[in-house]
């Protein structure tokens, strides 16, 4: 973990309102493992005391990339960053995904920035698997080429039917599962809206898949000190405890999460 001033190498429009931010972070980038995030201090937001967390989309040598959308004050201010600007980064943070095991079939489920958050995992998997991407509309489906060029099969659903199947991502998963003949045990990795994660988790628990979900909670410190980002996790004794999604997470075994919470 570092806290460093890094330089913007490039920023460009991506797709569907997303932007691609490339940072020169020679110490941090090589140490990022799939599912980890960085905590960004956004310049020119003097009124804001909090950083903003972003998953690492790709790393390439000394560089790391973030794929983000301008949804609020922080992310909209980020759009002003230009090559050469400096910003402070803490990272890599969080536990990240457990590595896919040889002999298991990897399945990805993603919505929104989850497609970016799963890319490093796809790249490091011992074998390509299948990826289910869901979104509202065609522009919300990101990075398909990148996954396909790694050999992954990508199945898409959009609510308005403008790309892939019309519907939600779990419709497609259910159909795939219903006709699946391969007997390798699944390893499912999901990152997206909470409702998507819960729907995946319920299926995983029913059908006995191993499934990890990466949750999105408001964060303060990002390093485990402030106890902002907690969620309820089941304990061996039947009780529950708050766990910090920045430290014990953001990736949790879906069976451990107390899903009633939200």
């Amino acid at each position: 973990m570092y806290c460093q001033t890094v330089q913007v190498a490039d920023q460009s429009e991506f797709q569907g309102g997303y932007r691609l931010l490339t940072l020169d972070a020679p110490d941090i980038a090589p140490e990022v493992s799939p599912g980890q995030f960085v905590h960004v201090r956004i310049p020119h937001m003097e009124e804001s005391v909090l950083r903003r967390p972003f998953s690492v989309y790709r790393t390439e040598g000394p560089q790391l990339q973030i794929l983000y959308k301008g949804v609020g004050k922080g992310t909209r201010t980020m759009t002003y960053l230009r090559a050469g600007d400096e910003l402070s980064l803490i990272g890599p943070l969080g536990n990240g995904f457990p590595a896919p095991q040889p002999g298991h079939f990897p399945v990805l489920v993603a919505g929104g920035y989850g497609m970016a958050a799963l890319y490093l995992l796809a790249r490091s998997a011992p074998q390509p698997g299948i990826a289910f991407f869901g979104g509202r509309s065609a522009p919300d489906i990101l990075c398909v080429d990148e996954f396909e060029s790694l050999g992954w099969e990508v199945r898409m659903t959009t609510q308005d039917g403008t790309r892939g199947r019309a519907g939600i991502v779990t419709d497609e998963i259910d159909d795939w599962w219903a006709v699946r003949s391969d007997s390798q045990p699944l390893e499912v990795y999901a990152c997206g809206p909470n409702a998507m994660l819960e729907a995946v988790a319920r299926r995983a628990m029913e059908r006995d898949w191993q499934a990890w979900v990466s949750v999105d909670r408001n964060m303060g410190c990002g390093v485990g000190a402030c106890l902002t980002c907690v969620l309820k996790v089941k304990q061996p004794d039947g009780e529950w405890a708050w766990k910090r999604s920045c430290k014990e997470g953001p990736v949790f075994d879906c069976r451990d999460i107390l899903w009633e919470e939200d």
């Binding site: 005391v49 950083r51 402030c226 106890l227």
Partner: protein, 316 residues
């Protein structure tokens, strides 16, 4: 190089810059980023006798130049803390100050007593400024009788240096500062977070699950500096100034107003190295101004001839 060490009654701090309770965890959280031995002291997150879960989420919300929080004092309990974190903290030379709280005077006394025999604990900070800690309907931090009772009881229960952390939401901070001194506190610290709230107008729900919370960060600094300045005129025990410190200049305001030491809170979230930057900046300032120690700067506010010297002058 000026001498940065300061004396808080029986407690010696290597530098005047602490990290404030609840904003730096129990030590390990920031240890990868910061050499803990360079801190003036670590005030750990509030500890009660028994483990506590804390509040539902959302627990924080960002507001103009500040943070609202209603974390709810989750903690592993005194025993849990001692087992999980003290071995780690003993590896460092940094003074460890344990922030304690309870729901009754008896609970305060028990948790204070528990720490008396724990190696590596340098002082206790009594958190009486948490709005929830009630005895009957009285609030320890804002009701003078309960305040005196809890300070006196804890004082009798511990041989450790005792710092009493004052609530900001009182009409006369001087009374509480004097009462803490009279009941035997070795030092006072102020301010704790300021009761506040924010509302999401689209959903018409509070931004915190707990409805209300505490405001911290730069927004509260001018309020905190004023309270420290008033308290410094009321007591002779040392003061730890807290509230919205994010750079050396901010800390110097508190010292010039009368604080012997300061603590960095919310700013650690924004920039974990703040505590070190503030320390360096104070050293640089002392050197530049030919001052040999923090003490020679403390309370040196020049209120001039024009200026009113009491706190009752006109505003608006």
């Amino acid at each position: 190089m000026p001498n940065l060490s300061v004396q808080l009654g029986p407690l010696t701090l290597p530098t005047p810059v602490l990290v404030a309770s609840g904003t730096f965890g129990y030590g390990p959280e920031y240890a990868e980023l910061i050499d803990l031995n360079q801190l003036g002291g670590i005030v750990v997150k509030g500890i009660a006798l028994h483990p506590t879960k804390g509040n539902p989420t959302p627990r924080t919300a960002e507001v103009a130049s500040g943070l609202l929080n209603a974390i709810g004092l989750p903690n592993p309990g005194a025993e849990g803390f001692i087992q999980e974190y003290m071995p780690f903290l003993r590896q460092y030379t940094v003074p460890v100050i344990v922030n304690i709280w309870g729901k009754t005077v008896a609970e305060y006394v028990d948790v204070a007593r528990r720490f008396d025999t724990v190696e590596g604990v340098h002082a206790l900070e009594l958190n009486v400024s948490c709005p929830n800690i009630k005895e009957g309907s009285a609030m320890f931090g804002t009701c003078m009788d309960s305040f005196r009772a809890v300070v006196a009881a804890v004082r009798a229960a511990t041989a450790l240096p005792l710092i009493v952390k004052l609530a900001p939401n009182v009409s006369d901070i001087k009374e509480f500062a004097r009462a803490a001194e009279a009941e035997g506190a070795d030092a006072i610290s102020l301010i704790n977070s300021v009761p506040a709230m924010a509302i999401d107008v689209e959903t018409r729900k509070p931004k915190l699950a707990n409805v209300t919370g505490g405001l911290t960060g730069p927004a509260i600094r001018p309020f905190a500096v004023k309270l420290v300045w008033e308290a410094a005129q009321a007591v002779t025990i040392p003061i730890i100034g807290i509230g919205g410190i994010s750079k050396a200049e901010d800390a110097l305001e508190f010292i010039i107003a009368g604080a012997s030491a300061v603590a960095v809170g919310t700013a650690s979230f924004t920039e974990p190295r703040t505590v070190l930057q503030v320390t360096d900046g104070i050293a640089e300032y002392l050197e530049r101004h030919g001052l040999e120690s923090v003490d020679s700067l403390r309370g040196s506010l020049n209120t001039g001839s024009d200026a009113a010297v009491d706190t009752d002058s006109e505003t608006n």
